[in-house]
C-alpha cells in the first residue's frame, strides 16, 4: 500500500477500526466505527421487525410484508434442512442471517465500514456456530454423536481413514465458514477501492467508474448470497448435530 504521487492506493484503509470520538486507543469497550455499523444493523432489524410489524395486520403493510418474507424464507430453510426439531433454533439462525445480511448491505453504502469483513467478527460467528452445534450434538445424541465420523456404509478397512478425514473436515468447518464470509466481503470492497483510485486519472476514469458500477452490482449479489450461504451452512451443521446418522 505504498503512497505515491498521483495514484494513491489505500484499499485496506476502509477496514481500519477507529474510535468514534477522539483519537484514543481502541479498548474493548470503546465505541468505534465497528460499533456504529453493527448497531445500525441492529436498528435496521428493529425497524423491520419491531416497527414494521407494529400493526400486526392480517393484510400486511409494505414493511410488514418484507419482514414476513424474511421470516418465511429463513423459517422454511430451517424447517427444510434441519427438520421439525430444528425449528426451536430458528430465532438464533434468524439472528445470524439478519446480522450478516444487514451488515453486508449497510457496508455497501459509500464510506461505510464492513463489520463482516473482519475475521474477528466472522470467526466469532463461525466458531460460535461450531461450538453450539457440537454441544447440541453431544447433548442430543450423547456419545453416539461420534458415529457421524464412523461410516457404516464404507468397507471396514476404509472406515478409519474416512473417520480421520471426517474429523479433519469437521474441524475445518468453522474456519472455512468464517473465512468465506470475511474473504468475500473484504475482496469485494478492496477491489472497489482499487478501481476508485484509478478514477483519479482522467483518461481511465470512465472505464474505472464503469468497473466500479459493475463490481458494486456484483457486491450487492455477494452480500445477499454470503448471508444466505452462511445461514444455510449453519442449518446443515445443525442438521448433522440433530440427526448424526447420515
Amino acid at each position: 500500500m505504498a503512497a505515491e504521487t498521483g495514484l494513491v492506493f489505500h484499499p485496506m484503509d476502509q477496514f481500519i477500526v477507529k474510535p468514534l470520538f477522539g483519537d484514543g486507543p481502541v479498548m474493548w469497550y470503546t465505541p468505534t466505527n465497528a460499533t456504529l455499523w453493527m448497531l445500525l444493523a441492529v436498528l435496521c432489524v428493529v425497524a423491520l421487525f419491531v416497527l414494521g410489524t407494529r400493526g400486526r395486520a392480517v393484510i400486511p403493510t409494505r414493511l410488514q410484508s418484507v419482514a414476513e418474507v424474511f421470516y418465511g424464507f429463513i423459517y422454511k430453510m430451517v424447517e427444510d434442512v434441519t427438520g421439525h426439531d430444528g425449528v426451536k433454533y430458528f430465532p438464533w439462525i434468524m439472528t445470524l442471517f439478519l446480522f450478516i445480511f444487514f451488515s453486508n448491505m449497510l457496508a455497501l453504502i459509500p464510506t461505510a465500514f464492513a463489520p463482516t469483513s473482519h475475521i474477528a467478527v466472522t470467526a466469532v460467528l463461525g466458531f460460535g456456530v461450531f461450538i453450539a452445534v457440537t454441544v447440541i450434538g453431544f447433548v442430543k445424541n450423547g456419545a453416539s454423536f461420534l458415529g457421524m465420523f464412523w461410516m457404516k456404509e464404507a468397507p471396514l478397512f476404509l472406515r478409519p481413514v474416512i473417520a480421520v478425514i471426517e474429523v479433519i473436515s469437521y474441524f475445518v468447518r468453522p474456519v472455512s465458514h468464517s473465512i468465506r464470509l470475511a474473504g468475500n466481503i473484504t475482496a469485494g470492497h478492496a477491489v472497489v477501492k482499487v478501481f476508485a483510485a484509478f478514477a483519479g486519472i482522467a483518461l481511465i476514469a470512465p472505464v474505472s467508474i464503469l468497473a466500479i458500477t459493475a463490481i458494486y452490482a456484483l457486491e450487492v449479489l455477494v452480500a445477499v448470497i454470503q448471508a444466505y450461504v452462511f445461514t444455510i451452512l449453519t442449518c446443515v451443521y445443525l442438521k448433522d448435530a440433530l440427526h448424526p446418522a447420515h
Binding site: 503512497a3 474493548w28 395486520a57
Partner: protein, 189 residues
C-alpha cells in the same frame, strides 16, 4: 480521516502508531489481522447479536408468527365459508331449475287445456254450422224439386193444350180424354 493529508511522501511503516497503523494513518498489512482491535469488535458483535436476538425472539418473530397463523386461520375460514356458499349457490340453482321446469310444465298444461276448450267450442260451432248448412240445403232441394215438378206439369199441360189445338186446327174433333191419354203416353215414352 484527519491523517490522510499526510499521506504524500510518507515512507510506509516508518514509525508505527500501535502495531496496525503507519504514521500516515493507513493500515499496515490487513487491518483484519490486527489483534489490537479484536476485543473491541468481539465485544460489540456480541452486544449486537444479543440485541438482535432479544428484539427478534421477544417481539418480532412471535408477532409475525401470530400474524401468519391468524392469516392462515382467516384463509381457512374464508375458504370454508366460500365452500358453503358454493353449496348454497348450487342448491339455489337446482331450485331455480326445478321451478323453471315446473312452470314450463304448468304452461304446457294450460296451453293444452286452452287448446282442448277451443277445440270443443270449435266442434260445437262446426256441428251447428253443418246442421244449418244441411237444413238449408234440404230446403233448397225441396224447392228445386217443386220447381222441377211444376215445370213438368206445365210442360204436360202445354203439350196437351197444343195437341188439342193442333187436332182442332187439322179439322178433327178432339176428344179431350183421348188426346190427354196420348200425350201422357208420349211423355212417358
Amino acid at each position: 480521516m484527519a491523517t490522510e493529508t499526510l499521506a504524500d511522501g510518507m515512507v510506509q511503516g516508518g514509525a508505527a502508531v500501535g502495531s496496525c497503523l503507519g504514521l500516515d494513518g493507513s493500515a499496515i498489512g490487513m487491518p483484519q489481522l490486527c489483534t489490537d482491535w479484536m476485543p473491541n469488535q468481539i465485544f460489540w458483535l456480541l452486544v449486537a447479536l444479543i440485541a438482535i436476538y432479544f428484539f427478534l425472539s421477544r417481539i418480532g418473530l412471535p408477532r409475525i408468527g401470530a400474524v401468519l397463523a391468524e392469516r392462515q386461520g382467516t384463509i381457512t375460514n374464508d375458504l370454508a365459508a366460500a365452500e358453503e356458499m358454493k353449496l348454497q349457490a348450487v342448491a339455489a340453482e337446482r331450485a331455480y331449475v326445478e321451478a323453471l321446469e315446473r312452470a314450463r310444465a304448468d304452461a304446457n298444461k294450460i296451453v293444452a287445456e286452452a287448446k282442448a276448450e277451443i277445440q270443443k267450442d270449435l266442434d260445437v260451432a262446426l256441428a251447428k254450422a253443418d246442421a244449418e248448412i244441411s237444413a238449408k240445403a234440404a230446403v233448397s232441394e225441396a224447392r228445386i224439386a217443386d220447381i222441377r215438378a211444376g215445370a213438368v206439369d206445365a210442360v204436360t199441360q202445354v203439350a196437351k193444350d197444343t195437341a188439342k189445338e193442333l187436332v182442332a186446327a187439322l179439322g178433327g174433333s178432339p176428344d179431350a180424354r183421348a188426346v190427354t191419354a196420348a200425350v201422357s203416353a208420349r211423355l212417358k215414352g
